[in-house]
């Protein structure tokens, strides 16, 4: 487990002081894939670096698997760092060394016998599916391949934790997906806790279990990824979620809804299961004297569960709508009335 206790970090540049981290308290469970998201300058990379002491906090404690990182001696810290792998946005591979030598390096630092290094490196290269690039120099590799080597190097010492600092930010979407799939595989098969810093919400939605949202050096929101995605609270979180689930109804469509003279209500429905979302809506239509009009629908897979977000106009008498709402709740569908939603109304009025 990684535990942050009252972490503060102040950078002083000439006369300016910047509070890079303010009162951070956070727990990351063993075996988790934990995402830290925020815009650049939010402090997420600094927070990540306090885990392996690349960045020392001004005050506060970081406890990694029972060890208080900042009370370790230099020698103990070096030993501890060997149990925490790290990958970087710019890969940070040694350009003058081959793929094999790069991956072997952390083992050489540990004075591992040569034949053991050989065996381990070959195994890891196979794991990251780059055994054929063994004797190639990094300059001959693509970005995705470089990151795979970065990952292989980080795994060489068989760490229990892997820190990922914007590891996919320099990669195209397709390559990003393959790297994320690899990270997931590492988490599952090698049972390594992964902490991911990113500014891309799709990274969070595709592999993280928990997420912390950072802004101005503070954690403004944190929790289960699926909860954050279905019910974001803070403005910044809503904006991040929007980059993955664009739950905005086109203005033209909304206008026609507001011009509707019948009695209606706008509901934002949240389906959280692998059940067919369609059947619930169909049932509502059949069972009650109402008419539903789907204005927006999105279905995404998050943490291997289906998250459906629908925005629906329900037309009918209030009593029937109320019954329908009851039925939805009974079938595990969350709903929120959007009638008073300022954002929606502002655009139309």
């Amino acid at each position: 487990m990684i535990k942050f206790e009252n972490i503060n970090k102040v950078f002083t540049q000439k006369k300016n002081t910047v509070n890079a981290l303010q009162n951070i308290n956070l727990e990351i469970q063993t075996g988790d894939i934990f995402g830290i998201i925020g815009f650049s300058g939010a402090g997420k990379s600094t927070l990540l670096r306090t885990i392996n002491a690349l960045e020392k906090p001004t005050s506060g404690k970081v406890i990694v698997d029972g060890d208080d990182i900042y009370s370790l001696s230099a020698k103990e810290l070096r030993a501890k760092r060997k149990t925490i792998g790290m990958i970087f946005q710019q890969f940070n591979l040694l350009e003058t060394k081959t793929v094999y030598e790069n991956v072997a390096l952390p083992l050489k630092l540990k004075h591992t016998p040569k034949n053991e290094i050989e065996e381990k490196v070959n195994k890891i290269l196979k794991f990251v599916e780059l055994e054929d690039k063994r004797d190639v120099y990094p300059s001959k590799l693509s970005g995705g391949q470089k990151q795979r080597i970065g990952i292989a190097r980080a795994l060489a010492t068989e760490p229990s934790i892997l820190l990922s600092d914007e590891a996919t930010s320099a990669l195209d979407p397709k390559t990003t997906d393959s790297i994320l799939a690899l990270l997931k595989k590492i988490n599952r098969e090698l049972n390594i806790t992964i902490v991911i810093v990113t500014h891309e919400m799709n990274v969070i939605s595709s592999i993280c279990n928990h997420v912390a949202v950072m802004e101005n050096g503070q954690i403004v929101e944190q929790g289960n990824v699926i909860d954050i995605f279905s019910e974001p609270q803070e403005e910044i979180t809503k904006n991040f979620v929007k980059t993955v689930i664009q739950d905005e109804v086109p203005e033209l469509l909304l206008k026609s809804v507001y011009e509707d003279k019948r009695n209606w209500k706008l509901l934002r429905l949240k389906f959280l299961s692998s059940d067919s979302t369609e059947s619930v809506i169909a049932q509502v239509n059949k069972k009650f004297d109402i008419e539903t009009n789907i204005l927006f629908a999105n279905i995404s897979e998050i943490q291997e569960r289906i998250l459906g977000i629908h925005i629906v106009q329900i037309v009918g008498p209030d009593t029937e709508i109320a019954k329908a709402e009851q039925y939805l709740t009974l079938h595990g569908v969350g709903y929120k009335e959007l009638d008073g939603d300022e954002e929606l109304l502002r655009e139309v009025s």
Binding site: N52, L54, R81, F88, L94, T96, L109, T157
Partner: protein, 224 residues
């Protein structure tokens, strides 16, 4: 052979001896100088602002000493360090004595060049090394030096060329070597055939060393 000797106006043995002395002066001072310059260069990189062991006092101190020595003309340096030379070597003249001022001359120059080469290694490599739990020693020998190899070869080449030039000047105070041959047998005796031949020889040697250094550097960088 005899024709060459006649053209140059001195026995060839004298030239062989001079070449031998120059090689001796240059190689010994280069060897000592490189070791010292690496230590100082690494110290500069480490104690620099934002460096791994940022230390303003040490950095400024080394910096000032380097600048003082580098701004002293070599002829002045040669004479100024004579008491020190006498104390260390036991004599002020001869190729062995010349090693002292040559080393003092080359260390600051090489330190600065090495510092610049090492600064090329990006901050990312430092972070990667630290995250792997590398010791400061490992950081230098497994990360910083290998990554700067190409640039370091160029720095050393510049150092050798500088040393050859300065070693010729050491002939001025009886340092021996090709420089003193040019001065005493060429210039002072109006033997311009000898003088220009030796100068040409130095030019060719310098060219060869520079090309060798450049191609080695390219070889070291070919994979980057």
């Amino acid at each position: 052979m005899a024709q060459i000797e006649q053209f140059l106006g001195i026995p060839l043995e004298k030239i062989y001896t001079a070449i031998h002395e120059t090689v001796y002066m240059v190689s010994i001072s280069l060897l000592i100088g490189t070791v010292l310059a690496f230590i100082i260069g690494i110290a500069l990189v480490f104690t620099k602002k934002g460096g791994l062991y940022e230390n303003r006092v040490i950095y400024t101190l080394i910096n000032v000493v380097i600048n003082v020595i580098r701004s002293t003309p070599f002829v002045v340096l040669l004479i100024a360090v004579m008491p020190l030379t006498k104390a260390i070597i036991g004599t002020r003249i001869g190729p062995t004595a010349a090693i002292v001022p040559l080393t003092i001359f080359i260390v600051p120059l090489l330190s600065r060049l090495i510092e610049n080469s090492l600064l090329d290694t990006g901050k990312g490599i430092y972070e990667a090394a630290k995250s792997m739990g590398a010791t400061p020693f490992q950081l230098v020998f497994f990360f910083i030096l290998p990554e700067a190899k190409g640039s370091l070869i160029l720095s050393l080449t510049t150092g050798i060329v500088g040393l050859i030039g300065s070693s010729a000047m050491a002939g001025y105070i009886g340092g021996g070597g090709i420089g003193s041959l040019v001065l005493n047998y060429g210039y002072n005796r109006f033997n311009f055939e000898l003088m220009y031949s030796l100068v040409l020889f130095l030019i060719i040697i310098t060219q060869i060393i520079q090309s060798l250094g450049s191609s080695l550097a390219i070889k070291a960088r070919v994979n980057q």
